[in-house]
């Protein structure tokens, strides 16, 4: 077998020479030129697509692409020049219509031409880096029509005039506008921006500048904002109808700047209708509108926030310094809560629950509540009132709501330790008089305080509750053990108070009447029998007594009195009349208290179980007192005791304030020592800052007091000044 010989096959090139007749190109071009003319003259129907395509194809194939292209340009250009003339000639409203029509036609023509010249479009044009047919057509349109001197300005003016007319309320042909503007958008080279958008924005700015000036002169704030909002919405709608969507942001910026930003301050501060008025009158709609408009401009919201803040601080300041409003602490606190609720509602309904506004509200409240040094006392009195009677019959959830509101006010207080002192006093009175509406409510509040301030704040308060409970048990035990012995004597109820937990009261002298001394002693013996090593002292300034009294005409009444008053009245079992001095001697009650008691027993209508001679209002040391046989009251039970928590008198207030200041000194010193122990060496300003930071949850320490405490610690050799830098202190181990 032999391998077949390889045989080369050759394919010979086509040997038939194609003759390219130079005149051939010209002839072909003429055909195409003619076709373009026909197309522009709306005579395209007579043309054969296939033939034209082939001609174009051949021209390109035979390397006459350049000629074809140049010819295209020339032809199209001359047609466009004609078209320009016809557009220029159009009168008035027809101008745009003519332009639009011609544009539509041009596009159709362009499409056809492009189809015919597709081969050139795909081959010659890319390789020669020429503009493709379609784009070329658009550019020629742009250069010959849009940028024609007679058309360019007229077009711009016409468009802007239409916008202006629409703004004044006329209805315009939006479809036409849309087409024209779309035309501008389709053309390359920022035609839309340069020929329409930029002038449009300038003219709009002028328009709104003028309009805003008009509005501001004649409208009140609320109306102005409504108008501004309306204009803004209109512009947004206009853009969506016939402009490039990218213009929306730009025109809204213009409107915002001219209508809102330029007049922001004037609007907010407008007399009788500005922000403050809206706040006072709860105009939620107007406020909401203002918020949503102002949030579009820089510094808009800060402006609202600042004005709101100063307004709240101002009304708050007035509230806490107006002596009228401070007469009734409970009412005062209620007003604070009302103001807070009012503004919370505004922020939630109109200001979108904006956190920065919430913070501004909180800081304002913190500012003015602390302007009045009695705020802690008043808030405690408010709570006292609620827990005493205000929350009677209120559902559990509502109780929680009230207590949470109280806690909110508490958080604003800088001097939380002052509140603690008063709260303790008032709680003590509530517990001892048995006048608390709900034990659960009391405990709930204590828990809240503990969560807020920690265990130390409430441990003593809890101790008070424990004492009350323990006392109940003790009484049960006492009566179980002694029941028989004391059955025919006065009924004694004792609350045993652990000294550290209850507010410090100076114990004063008071001689208990013999009628009860017996049972008191029995209790003392019983108690100390089970609790050796303890000391008991009767707090005569805190007790109450119920006395059954029979008067001259046989009328019987039950008198509910304080212990002091009991001691005084019991004296009258053995004498019809006694002088002030005799009473003083017998009871040994301190003078100020004694006078107060006698006043409540003798000088108050409806409660004057004693008669005083002379009948003056004040108690003098020469006065004489008699049992009032003619006493009358329509109630069987007459309450004369005075153990209710009240606003403190001036001297009492001073005393409490002093005690608070004294309590603060060791706390400050402890903080200084803690800090210096850790840091070893620290300068004065930093110590002050650190101490303030450490104590701020309880009170705001006074820098002068801190300085004095530092000096005291230097004296006691806990600290020393640095030898070189006198502002530096060193911890002495």
């Amino acid at each position: 077998m032999s391998a077949p010989k390889k045989r080369n096959f050759q394919i010979e090139a086509f040997k038939h020479r194609v003759v390219v007749d130079p005149k051939y190109a010209e002839k072909t071009w003429k055909i195409l030129e003619h076709a373009i003319h026909e197309i522009y003259n709306h005579n395209a129907s007579g043309l054969s697509f296939e033939e034209l395509y082939r001609n174009a194809y051949n021209m390109v194939l035979h390397k006459y692409g350049e000629k074809l292209y140049a010819g295209l340009v020339m032809t199209m250009t001359s047609h466009l020049k004609e078209i320009a003339k016809s557009i220029e000639a159009a009168q008035g409203a027809l101008f745009l219509e003519e332009l639009n029509r011609k544009w539509t036609e041009h596009n159709k023509a362009l499409q056809m031409i492009r189809d015919i010249l597709m081969y050139m479009d795909r081959t010659f044009i890319p390789s020669a880096h020429k503009t493709p047919v379609h784009e070329l057509g658009l550019n020629l349109w742009r250069d010959n029509i849009i940028h024609s001197s007679k058309i360019q300005t007229r077009l711009q003016d016409t468009l802007l005039e239409l916008v202006q007319r629409e703004r004044t309320g006329e209805v315009i042909n939006r479809g036409l506008m849309r087409n024209i503007i779309k035309m501008l958008m389709d053309l390359c080279g920022s035609v839309y921006q340069e020929n329409f958008e930029k002038p449009f924005l300038e003219v709009s700015a002028d328009f709104y500048r003028r309009e805003s000036q008009q509005f501001i002169e004649c409208c009140d704030c609320g109306d102005y904002l409504k108008k501004a909002e309306k204009r803004l919405n209109e512009e947004i709608e206009r853009v969506s109808q016939y402009m490039d969507v990218k213009s929306e942001g730009k025109i809204t910026n213009v409107v915002e700047k001219e209508l809102i930003e330029s007049h922001m301050h004037r609007l907010v501060h407008m007399d009788n209708s500005g922000l403050v008025n809206m706040l006072v009158d709860d105009k939620y709609d107007d406020l909401g509108r203002m918020y949503s408009l102002f949030c579009r401009v820089p510094d808009g919201l800060p402006l609202i926030r600042d004005v709101m803040t100063s307004h709240i601080r101002e009304i708050g300041k007035q509230l806490v310094t107006d002596p009228e409003k401070l007469k009734d602490p409970v009412d005062f606190v209620q007003r604070l809560l009302d103001e807070k609720d009012k503004h919370d509602k505004i922020i939630s309904l109109a200001f979108n629950n904006d956190k920065t506004f919430q913070n501004a509200l909180n800081s304002s409240f913190e500012y003015f509540i602390n302007l009045n040094p009695r705020s802690p006392e008043f808030i405690s009195l408010f709570v006292d009132d609620k827990l005493r009677k205000g929350l009677k019959g209120v559902s559990e959830e509502d109780v929680e709501l009230v207590l949470d509101k109280v806690m909110m006010l508490f958080r604003y207080l800088q001097e939380k330790d002052v509140f603690e002192k008063y709260y303790k006093q008032h709680l003590a009175k509530r517990l001892l008089s048995g006048k608390t509406v709900s034990d659960d409510a009391e405990r709930s509040l204590i828990v809240k305080l503990k969560t807020e301030c920690g265990y130390q704040f409430t441990s003593k308060l809890e101790g008070m509750f424990t004492d009350m409970k323990t006392s109940q048990d003790t009484m049960q035990g006492f009566y179980a053990a002694m029941g028989a012995d004391i059955a025919d004597g006065p009924t004694l109820t004792v609350q045993v108070l652990t000294t550290g937990s209850w507010p410090t009261q100076s114990s004063s002298t008071c001689n208990l009447p013999p009628e009860i001394l017996g049972v008191c002693e029995k209790f003392r013996t019983y108690y100390l029998g089970t609790h050796t090593g303890r000391r008991l002292s009767w707090q005569t300034n805190m007790g109450t007594a119920d006395l059954k009294a029979t008067f001259g005409k046989g009328q019987k009444h039950e008198l509910n009195v304080s212990t002091y008053q009991m001691c005084i009245l019991m004296l009258f079992n053995n004498a019809d009349g006694l002088s002030y001095r005799e009473i003083e001697q017998a009871t040994e009650i301190p003078a100020a208290d004694l006078k107060r008691c006698l006043q409540s027993l003798a000088c108050v209508r409806g409660k004057n179980v004693l008669r005083k001679e002379p009948m003056s209002k004040d108690i003098a040391e020469d006065d004489a007192f008699f049992f009032n046989d003619n006493f009358q009251s329509k109630f069987y039970k007459v309450k004369i005791g005075t153990v209710v928590a009240q606003k403190e008198s001036e001297p009492e207030k001073q005393e409490t304030r002093q005690r608070v200041e004294e309590d603060r000194k060791p706390q400050i010193e402890a903080a200084i020592v803690r800090i210096m122990k850790a840091r070893r060496v620290l300068d004065h300003n930093n110590i002050v800052a650190e101490v303030t930071k450490q104590l701020q949850s309880r009170f705001l320490p006074n820098p002068v007091v801190i300085k004095k405490r530092i000096e005291s610690l230097i004296e006691r050799e806990f600290l020393e000044r640095d030898k070189v830098d006198r502002k530096l202190y060193r911890y002495l181990a």
Binding site: H684, N685, V704, K707, E711, E715, R721
Partner: protein, 230 residues
């Protein structure tokens, strides 16, 4: 006056025993005799008290109120004013290189000049606090402090010294702490009497802050020191 009735008697006794001034006697003892002289066993031979000091002053021709006595006490590291212990006295004289009364007298101008030295003045000033206060007290009684200040600030001029003393008597009326004492010199040295460079944040003792307030209240404007007398 430190010398109580009893002490005075004892010194009298001493004087009659030795028949000489006890100070000079002791001085001579130190300088010329051995330290085991029988006289030195007497309890009060170990202390020079007020009377002895005034005799000493006489001998060295210096007024007992003269501030140079303070400087001398400083050299002697005396613990309390108006008395020198044996150790303090001897040690001080040795440190000063004094071995005769004449030398003592000659040294006085030098010691006086030391008060002009900024650094030494400060030491002497701070020394004065412990020296002038009562033994066992932490603070310096106000009257004594005022007396000392007047003395010291006559030496080193401070225009506000009178105002300071008046302020204390009007507003303070309590003893002076060591810190306040030492800081006052700083204040006098660094703060201009018209208070132009007073820094409220300067960690001055609060008494000095109050003093500045007092001055401002009473018409010493910052920048201008009006001369008010009373």
């Amino acid at each position: 006056n430190k010398l109580g009735r009893g002490n005075r008697d004892k010194v009298q006794q001493l004087m009659t025993i030795t028949g000489a001034r006890p100070v000079i006697g002791i001085l001579k003892e130190r300088l010329m005799y051995s330290t085991t002289s029988p006289m030195l066993q007497h309890p009060y031979a170990d202390m020079i008290l007020a009377d002895g000091i005034s005799l000493l002053c006489n001998d060295i021709q210096v007024d007992p109120q003269d501030i140079v006595m303070l400087a001398i006490s400083w050299h002697m590291k005396a613990a309390t004013m108006c008395e020198f212990s044996k150790q303090e006295f001897v040690g001080g004289l040795q440190a000063l290189g004094i071995d005769s009364l004449e030398k003592f007298r000659e040294r006085i101008p030098f010691i006086r000049s030391e008060l002009k030295d900024e650094h030494k003045f400060q030491e002497i000033y701070n020394f004065a606090f412990d020296w002038a206060k009562e033994k066992g007290q932490k603070s310096l009684a106000l009257d004594t402090a005022i007396g000392m200040w007047q003395l010291l600030f006559a030496e080193k001029e401070w225009p506000l010294v009178e105002h300071w003393c008046q302020f204390l008597q009007a507003r303070h009326n309590k003893a002076i702490s060591r810190d306040t004492w030492s800081q006052l010199l700083e204040f006098a040295r660094t703060v201009d009497p018209a208070l132009t460079n007073y820094d409220a944040e300067g960690a001055w003792p609060y008494l000095i802050d109050e003093f500045v307030e007092y001055l401002l209240e009473n018409g010493i404007q910052k920048g201008q020191l009006s001369d008010w007398t009373h």
